[in-house]
Structure formats: structure tokens, C-alpha cells
Subunit: 545 residues, 2 copies
């Protein structure tokens, strides 16, 4: 399974996604109040503005001495590919031919020992280090900021792709950080196992990136977030190594695992992680339901989560996202009419679409499906059958391709997410939606993860791109949404992470003393401050962009 | 529900427990190879050696200005009660009339604001602070060490006993730290809810102590350990407050909750905790099973934990603990003969006793019981019926009383615990047992918590007390066991915590860099180092006793 490199200017690989069908374009134009622009291709790679490398020759030689000649790349292609993640501001910048900031070099260690030696050499030479896994961050997590240092390298973990141990008796698998989603599942499938972690970025993101960003997958309501899978962990930090054994549970003081999970490369490099795995499900079943309203749907989800009747995949769209899904599905003519009368007869027309899915042994799937369905029916839901579920499963990793296409046609497309307690969820939903609607004509939302105490909210919004000032436009919307989230008591991020974009809001999450504690920790593990400057904790408490 | 104060020299209150019946004494004497000594009562309170208070008058006045005249106690009774926890070395010391070290005063704040003011005054005056909840630590967690400071106070949280909020929609309850187990359940029962946390210390230990020590309860296999219940948390530290909102989940960097859970008073005082609660179970069922051997039993437990067929209470005794349980049960004559032939006919005589219990709605209990029983039967188990389960449930909080009685009759009784992965569990069990058997004629073990990746091991051991040097005897055994645990890859503690007794082994758990990170954190939150000196992280990395 050869590693797959993404397009430098957007998501994924050529030949996937787009172009959007005519009915989808028509619907989008109706929402945006005007025609989409013509497709504007990104500039050619050779025309991208790329600053000359600042890495001093002696430093480059020190790095080559550790990883070999071919382990240090300073060529244009490598530097541009590692110049940004896949967030909206990243792609706007790259498509316009602006690679600044770019890493001065890309360095590829092949072992934890090489990582350790590289960090030592970089601390000595005053070179910042940005750990780089799949490069799929949408919050600026891999932006190559150099902070106060003379140069910055991207530390690409693509050569650290081994499964180091598989303890089948204890259901624990130990991975190096550079394995991508399909590679992890391929290795486990051979032994009848699965990790069960399927974020939208699954095809390109890495196991190290999942742990470093406290990732949630699409089936995390059932399988658990990545943090719930982490049993053991090794952090290679400039000051040394922190190696935590995979004890099943412990009362030995503060849990350092939970400090390293979510550390976003700002404390060091996660060089090995031992994760709980489980048998591959024998059966699976996905289906769609229509609820009378988003409010009725969230009540159903709350009952599911609190009564143990929840599905493994739970996704509830609000009315606007439901409208979008139906419009983009391309349902027309007789089938659309049939669907419409079915929904009207069941008093759920104009309602909220839910996708629910169960995995496991066949008996358990049947029993659990019965329990979930009973709750959905009790809240006025109408079953849509398995085809809606299959359609969702088919397209689950594809949304980013559509974003790329729209971006090329002058549309601002962005997503952001939060989570809140059940008692505060409606207020949080209304506050964030209102903040976004002040800037964007189309705002939609779904719940994708439910817990006994609350749920996540995932917003998607579209607006005509202000072509003269796309980044200022984005910054204004993003700020409005973040402030609404904080004011309404939500978490600043439920699954994308802090990175560069949310660093200013970490104090709202952890308090000034909490941030000070994280800074003290960083000063201990990374005394020269070379690890991923400007991300997670910043010296000023403000993001550095 | 008035607060109940424990006896200063032992567990619980007068009129509970003992004396042990004759058959139990006979069995114990057979194990120990000689007669128990006569009951030696503890010295009288007025004869306890208590050093003069070292708290300077000006400091005492500053504290009284914050909490009022009756909030600062310097009397003998208060100081002796707060001079130790309830570990074996604590009780040996107290019974012998030695209260050194004792706190110079006992201070009772009535609000988080008063806690904050007290910490400020203590930092200024150079007074160490030992947070004191139920005082039930068995690892020296409340030993009033003053470190480099001129005096030390016990900060008794007995006046902080309010439920601050109950969010029934989100199933979250916010408590002050000083509430004891029965008080927590009493408050929740009024709303049909439960926390489901029942450590052996339940009657006397506090919710703050549970969170501060990362406690596991007897039903934690089903309900989850206390750390799994913590949604929000407020730490009042000398440097300021860390207040973490009860987000249902978040990707906002490292999880500071998990740093404060298990912080054992060494970073500050947990002044409020928001915990996930759930409906009180409608039905419950406990029963006993006999497995052919401890090894067969652990295999059954592994299958239960990994197939989702686990009970809420799971407890499996090894052959020696099973023998003890049968001997102490007082089964004699015809009933004993009947039981013996039943066990022989099923090839489980001399085997391993399991107690399993399920709670929840009646249907779920039935279904889950069926699943658990099928696993137990598959591994050669024979059902003993509900009476064995009821006997366990009846006595579940009583073992400490027996310990007190034995201690008074010259018997060293101690327990310690660890956890390991399934693949390493047998090796861990054998290693710790061998280390203990080198010092103690009777060593028994049970598994009380199971996880998909492993299980806990809880050892009980008895030896004739070396009356001339009881602490040296204990120290030698404890060290041997701890080293065996570390060498065999177990965690140094699964539910008792680090405290004073395990502080030397924290580096084996977290590594030198991990401990350095915790020290950096402590330096940030407690710059004067007044919080619980000598516990959790010590400046030398060695315990200070």
C-alpha cells in the first residue's frame, strides 16, 4: 500500500470528486443569490511564490548526517506541499500562488531515534520543527511558523509506518505515527481486527495526527473518540522521552496520557502509540430517518444517549442541512414526488434527516437497532430505509472535493464545530447559527456525536467569496462564530483541534491558569520552544497570524 | 445527615465490626502458625504524644480572620484525628500513641473563596497545607508533612458539603468536595439518580477525595471509575483558579481535567466537581460462581470484558482468598458437607470464587446476566446462587473493622493493588505473590475490575507483627511488592493512589521526564510548594518518610 500524496493546492488526488452536477449548481446559485463564477484553476506549481530557504548550510548538514542525503528535501515540490494544511485560509493562499510561510526544508526521519537526534540538532541550531503527518489539519495545525527561530522544517513522519506490536490477548496494537487510515485498517484486518476510527480525513490523515489532535471519527459515538483508544504513548520531546505503558487503568496520579493526547506537536513528536482495537464487526446496518424537526431530533438523540439505545453512527441534520442533502441527492420526477408525499403523510416534510448505523455481531445489531428505532419512532420519526444510509456511507469521505470545486468557483465554504451539554445545546445552536448568518447566506448544522451529557454541533456555511479580501472575510466570520461559541458556553472545538486558528480561545477553555500550566509544561519538555510555534499555546496567548 | 467522625486510632465508629468469631480466629491462627495475641487497646487520647503547635500566632490570626474563630482548631482531639490516614503504618503509629507528625492546626473553610484566601495566607506565612476529606487514605496521602515550611495545617473540607447544581437534562451534578459517599447518594436519590461509586471506604470517604485520588469503586467495572464520571472541575490553587466547564467532549488540546483528577492535593484543592450521574437502577442481582481455578476464572473475565458480556460488579478470588472466604463464612456441619459435594461433583472444589452483579432495568439485567453466565459456564464455572452474592454485598464495607481487630492482636494485615494487561497478568500475579510470600505466610488475591485490555489485582496479606519493629517490617514487605510490580510491568496502584507510600515509584510509571513535567506544573500552580508536601511528586523523587 504505497503512500499517497495529496494535491498541493487542495484535497485528495486527481480523478476523484467533481464536477458538481447541474442540479447541485442550480441549488447552490439559488442559495448564494447569484451565479457561481467560472472555474479558476490554481496557479502552476512553478509559479508559486516561494521564499529562498533560510536553513543555514551547517544546520542542513547536521540534519543530513542524521537522516541521510535523501531524508532532507529542499526542493520546490516538497516545500510547497508542506507549506499548509487543508483549511480554507490555507487553500485560498496556496491556490493564489502564495506559499509563504513555507518550511525551509522537509525532513524525513525513519525511527524514533532519528526524531530524537533531529530535535536535538534543531534545538542547537535554532530551527523550529513542525511535525507533519497527513497534512490534513483544517485549523492551521501544520502552518510552518518559525517563531523566534532562524528557520523552520516540516518533520514529515511518512517513513514511520510500522505496526510495532500486536498483543491480541490484550487487544492492543502499537503503531508508529505515520500510518494513514487505510494502512492502519489494512494491518488490523489481516488479524480480524479494527480500530474503528473513521474521520472524514480517513484516507489521508495519520494515526499520529489523530492522537495529536484528539480526533473524533464518524463512528465515535459507538467506537469512542481516539482519546478513548489510547492505552500507551511515547512522546519524543526535545528534553527527552516520555514513555507511558499501556496499563488498563491506574490511580497513579494525574494521567499524562491525556496531556500528550491533543498536544498537537507543541510538546514533541508522538513516536509510538498503543491503541485498543477490537474485532471487526460481522454485520453492519445504516439507515435514514426523518424527524419532524431538528429540535425533536435532538430530543430523540438525548434519549438514545442516556438510555444506552444509541447507534454507533449517529448524525442528525438540521432543517437547512436536510434541505441541502435532498437537493444535492438529485431526486427528481416521480421518485421525488413519492418521497414528498410519504414525508407529508408522516408529518415530517421539511423536517430533519437522521442517519443511524450499528455495527457488531448480527444479534447485537438487531437488538440495538430495535432499541434505537423505538426511540426515533417515539419522537415522531419516519423511517426512510437503508438507501439513505448507504448514500451517506458512500459519500462520507467526499465532501472536501466539493469544497475544492466551489473554492475554485468563488464560493467561501467552511465548517466549524463545537459541543455542549444537552441543557445548553439549543442556545448554543441558535447563537452560533445567528453569528454565522450575519455573514453567510447559507448556514447548516448537524449533530454527529452524542454523549450522555451532551452532543457536538457541526456547522457548514457558504457565502460568495469576497475575491479582493478572502482572508479578511474568513477571519471576520470565524471570529464571530468563535465568540458566539465561547459566550454560549460551548467548547471551542469538538474535533478539529486548536492549531493556529483557535489558539486565541484556549484561555476561554482552560482559563488563564490552565494555559499557564500548559506553558510551564511546554517549557519543561521543549525548553528552546522549537516545537510547532504559534500552535496550541502561544507565548502571548494570541495566535501569531 | 450529620457528618460522622471516625475513631482516631482506626476505622469507622464504635459498635461496628468485631469481635471475630471463634472459627475465624482458629482459621487465622492456623494460617499464621500460632495463637493471636491478646487484644491490645490503643493508648488513651490524652496519652498520645503530640508536639506543641508550631503555627506562629500571627499566622493563626490570619487564618482565623478568614474562617472565623471556630474555623481554626488547635485542640488535641482535632490535631490527633488529622495526624494520619488509615494505612497500616498510620494505625500502628497512632495506636502506639505517636501522633508525630501532626498538623499544627486544623482549618475548616466554608467556601471556595475561603480556600483561596487560606492558600494565599499560608503561602505568605510559609505554612504547608494538607487537604483533608474523609481522611481514609491508605497510602499516606494525608500525612501532615511540613516540607521546608515552618508549620503545617490540615485543611478539613467538612464544611464544603453542598450540591451546587443539578442539571437533570444533561445528567450532571456539581458537588463541593466534602460530601461523603452516603450524603452524595442521599442527595441524588431524592431525584431518582445515582453516581454509582462505591469504594470500600464509601461510608467515610468524600467526593473530593475520590476525584483527587482517581478512585475506583466496587461497581466501577460497570459504572466506570471516578475519572470517567468527571465532566467539570474547579481547582483552587495557590496561583489562582483552574475552572474547567463540563463539555461533553472536546478536541481543545491536552485534557487538563485528567491532570487535576489524581492530583492528590499537591496542586491545589478541588473545590467543585461536576460529575455524570445516572438513573438509579430499577433492579439488581448478585450471585456467586465457583471456577475450577483462578487461571480459568481470569480467562472467563477476559472473555466477559472483551465481548461486552461483563457484569457491573466483577470479583474473582484466587484459590487462597476463596479458601479464606469459605473459612470465614462459618459454614459448618451438614451445609458445609453439602456445599463440598456440590463443588466436587462439578469439578470446582478448591477452585476460585467469583461474585458477579448486574444493575439496571429489569430486562437489561436479565439479558446481561444471561450473557455473563454463559461465559462463566463455558469456562467450567458452577453457579452458587444469590446467597454468596448477598453475603458479599452485606460485608462489602466491613473489612477494615476486621483489620483493626487483628492489628490490636498482633497481626500485620495489609492490602495493595495493581493492574496489568491480559497478556501480562499471570506473570504479574505470580511475581507479586512470590514477593509477598517471602515475607508473609498468608497471601491472597482477587481481581475486582476488568477492562478490554486487562484487569486489576488486589492482594491481601497477613503476617505475625514484629512488635519491636512493625514499621520496618511493613516497609520491607511493601518495598518488595512495589519492586515486583514495577519489574513485572504493572501499574504501581490501580485504586489507592500515590500519596507518600508510592511517591518513589512515580518515575517508574511516568518516566523521569514525565515526573519533571508534573514538577513543572506544580511549580506553576503552587510556586511556594505549600500543597501537600512529600506526596505525589517530591522534590527529590524519593518519598520523604
Amino acid at each position: 500500500m504505497p503512500a499517497r500524496e495529496m494535491r498541493w493546492w487542495g484535497w485528495g488526488e486527481d480523478g476523484q470528486g467533481g464536477p458538481a452536477p447541474a442540479h447541485a449548481v442550480a441549488w447552490l446559485e439559488a442559495q448564494l443569490g447569484g451565479p457561481l463564477g467560472p472555474e479558476t484553476p490554481p496557479v502552476a506549481l512553478e509559479d508559486v511564490r516561494l521564499p529562498r530557504t533560510r536553513l543555514r548550510r551547517r544546520a542542513a548538514e547536521a540534519l543530513r548526517a542524521i537522516v541521510g542525503e535523501d531524508g532532507v528535501r529542499e526542493d520546490r515540490a516538497a516545500r510547497v506541499v508542506h507549506a499548509a494544511g487543508k483549511g480554507y485560509p490555507d487553500l485560498v493562499r496556496l491556490r493564489a500562488g502564495e506559499a509563504r510561510p513555507a518550511p525551509d526544508a522537509v525532513v524525513l526521519p525513519a525511527s524514533a531515534g532519528q526524531v530524537s537526534a533531529l530535535l536535538g540538532a534543531c534545538a542547537l541550531a535554532g530551527v523550529a520543527v513542525v511535525p507533519f503527518g497527513g497534512g490534513t489539519s483544517v485549523v492551521g495545525g501544520v502552518e510552518p511558523l518559525r517563531g523566534p527561530h532562524h528557520a523552520v522544517i516540516a518533520l514529515d513522519l511518512a517513513r514511520l509506518t510500522r505496526m510495532r506490536r500486536l498483543d491480541e490477548r490484550s487487544r492492543l496494537a502499537s503503531f508508529e505515527p505515520g500510518l494513514r487510515g487505510p494502512e492502519v485498517e489494512h494491518l488490523l484486518r489481516a488479524r480480524g481486527l479494527t480500530l474503528g476510527h473513521f474521520p472524514q480525513s480517513f484516507v489521508y490523515s495519520t494515526v499520529g495526527g489523530w492522537v495529536a489532535t484528539r480526533s473524533a471519527g464518524q463512528a465515535s459515538t459507538g467506537y469512542g473518540r481516539i482519546d478513548e483508544h489510547v492505552a500507551g504513548l511515547t512522546l519524543t520531546a526535545p528534553a527527552g522521552e516520555v514513555a507511558l505503558a499501556p496499563h488498563p487503568a491506574s490511580a497513579a496520579g494525574p494521567d499524562l496520557r491525556e496531556l500528550l493526547v491533543g498536544s498537537e506537536g507543541a510538546l514533541g513528536v508522538l513516536t509510538e502509540m498503543t491503541l485498543e482495537v477490537q474485532p471487526r464487526p460481522a454485520a453492519g446496518s445504516y439507515e435514514g430517518w426523518m424527524l419532524p424537526s431538528f429540535e425533536a431530533g435532538t430530543e430523540a438523540l438525548r434519549e438514545m444517549a442516556q438510555s444506552g439505545a444509541t447507534a454507533d453512527v449517529v448524525r442528525l441534520s438540521d432543517e437547512r442541512e436536510t434541505g441541502m442533502s435532498l437537493a444535492l441527492s438529485g431526486l427528481t420526477g416521480a421518485r421525488a414526488a413519492l418521497t414528498g408525499s410519504y414525508l407529508r403523510a408522516r408529518h415530517v416534510a421539511g423536517g430533519a434527516l437522521a442517519i443511524v448505523g450499528w455495527e457488531g455481531d448480527a444479534d447485537a445489531v438487531l437488538r440495538r437497532r430495535r432499541a434505537t428505532r423505538a426511540v426515533l419512532a417515539r419522537h415522531g420519526g419516519a423511517a426512510l430505509g437503508p438507501s439513505a444510509g448507504r448514500a451517506w456511507a458512500r459519500g462520507r469521505f467526499h465532501a472536501p472535493y466539493l469544497r475544492d470545486e466551489l473554492l475554485g468557483r468563488g464560493v467561501l465554504v467552511e465548517t466549524l464545530e463545537t459541543a455542549g451539554t444537552w441543557s445548553g445545546l439549543e442556545r448554543l445552536y441558535r447563537a452560533v447559527r445567528a453569528a454565522l448568518e450575519a455573514h453567510a447566506p447559507f448556514v447548516a448544522c448537524h449533530v454527529s456525536h452524542v454523549y450522555p451529557s451532551g452532543a457536538s454541533l457541526y456547522f457548514t456555511f457558504l457565502a460568495p467569496m469576497e475575491r479582493e479580501r478572502p482572508l479578511a472575510q474568513w477571519t471576520a466570520i470565524k471570529r464571530a462564530a468563535c465568540e458566539a461559541i465561547v459566550d454560549a458556553g460551548g467548547t471551542i472545538t469538538h474535533h478539529h483541534g486548536i492549531g493556529r486558528d483557535h489558539a486565541a480561545y484556549l484561555a476561554a477553555e482552560d482559563g488563564e491558569q490552565g494555559v499557564a500550566a500548559l506553558r510551564a509544561l511546554k517549557a519543561q519538555l521543549d525548553p528552546a520552544g522549537i516545537m510547532n510555534p504559534g500552535k496550541l499555546v502561544t507565548s502571548s496567548g494570541r495566535p501569531s497570524r
